[in-house]
Amino acid sequence: MTEISLTVNGRAVHETVEPRLLLTDFLRHRLGLTGTHVGCEHGVCGSCTVHVDGAAVRGCCMLAVQADGSTVETVESLAGDALLSPLQDAFKRHHALQCGFCTPGILMAVVDFVDHYPDPSRAAVEDMLSGHLCRCTGYAPIVDAILDYTASTSASPSGRST
């Protein structure tokens, strides 16, 4: 067992974990942050995407012990005190989620992506989404929502509510 200390969604967390515990399972089962979804558990579906030290990563392809000392943010952090962040609101307006399983991972990936590519082409957004499997909504409204969000002047650079 290994002791780890990290910051999750602004809260200091100290836990003792087995080295083999995945970051996803740590977030969901230890911390109760079930917004991070577990799909394929081998880095293909993208539903477990969270931020570690500001970069979007696959929570299933990282061990909780590797996040020791890091700052982790999950989809629960996006809206802050608001109901929805501007990005989440764009998803709502465009009906960019149906069952919602893939949504948290896509949102976390987009926040990182837009930090680096603030004005992406439709093709660039589609390419980025290749790492996120959506099996029911369909990608067209998801792409529309992301492009609407990046085009909006009100979008905060971090994708979070300010």
Partner: protein, 282 residues
């Protein structure tokens, strides 16, 4: 899908990492970005007794000094955005996994993992780069043909680590291009090709054509390069190079693509890459 139990050491330096690997013996594994290793752990295809984490061992630096030395744990995303990295590598990196996996995946990890369908090793071979290795008995430097053996197998010895790769910087008159075809963006490639050449007057010189995915390791296609060497890269010359490339590979077919189809794709990719590399060399 959960990994087997293992011990974990976070190495704070290269020396700590090498010592931990030596102590862990045969069943110890280093972990860098983990984008191939953790899926394999989750599926229990790999059952190490000890993981040695290299992420905080100070191996992630990128230095440019005539050539570019990329520390083993430099993230693929960081190199993709670094203007000092060779443009061939930067052109190929968007084909590596997905946007999010490149935030964690490393350049050195991809080289050490030696997947026959990996883009980074193909670029390293095309640019005649160097793999820097550290081990219990010191350091050594190896050229790609002396490193990649076959799928997932390299000439790394037990207890050794890839600590960096060294890449040339693009030279004036140099042309380069990377081409790949996969069934879907981010999937394992069906075929990939890198072409590097130098324009000397009206002719291509020092042509290197390297294929991946249709071979078990980055493979120099000597006949395809010979078809371009010393000539102007016209559509006819590029087509001849493609035909030579197709004849020199023999990929095993699969449910997705027959051997003949993979050869045909490879010919097309060589043709396109040769023409683009030539156009860039102007």
């Amino acid at each position: 899908m959960k990994p087997v139990a293992f011990d974990f050491v976070r190495a704070e330096s290269l020396e700590e990492a090498l010592a931990a690997l030596a102590e862990g013996g045969e069943d110890a594994k280093p972990i860098a970005g983990g984008q191939s290793l953790v899926p394999a752990l989750n599926m229990r295809l790999v059952r190490p007794t000890l993981l040695v984490d290299l992420n905080r061992a100070g191996l992630d630096g990128i230095e440019a000094n005539g050539e570019v030395r990329i520390g083993a744990t430099a993230r693929q995303a960081a190199v993709e955005r670094d203007p000092r990295a060779h443009p061939l590598l930067r052109e190929a990196l968007p084909f590596v996994g997905h946007y999010v996996t490149r935030n964690r995946g490393t350049v050195g990890g991809s080289v050490a993992h030696a997947d026959g369908s990996a883009e980074i090793p193909v670029c390293l071979a095309a640019l005649d780069g160097t793999i820097v290795i550290a081990g219990p008995t010191g350091r050594r430097e190896v050229a790609p043909p002396d490193f990649f053996v076959t799928h997932y197998l390299t000439t790394l010895h037990a207890g050794e680590l890839v600590v960096a790769t060294v890449w040339p910087q693009a030279a004036p008159g140099e042309g380069w291009a990377f081409e790949e075809l996969a069934l879907r963006a981010g999937d394992y490639a069906l075929s990939m090709v890198a072409v590097v050449l130098r324009r000397d007057g009206g002719a291509a010189r020092d042509v290197r054509v390297v294929a991946g995915a249709v071979t078990d390791r980055p493979t120099l296609l000597v006949e395809a390069a010979a078809a371009l060497e010393g000539v102007e890269v016209t559509a006819a010359a590029a087509s001849a190079a493609g035909a030579a490339a197709a004849a020199s590979v023999e990929p095993p077919g699969s449910i997705h693509a027959s051997c003949d189809y993979l050869r045909s794709i490879t010919a097309t990719l060589v043709e396109r890459a040769a023409l683009r590399a030539w156009a860039r060399s102007a």
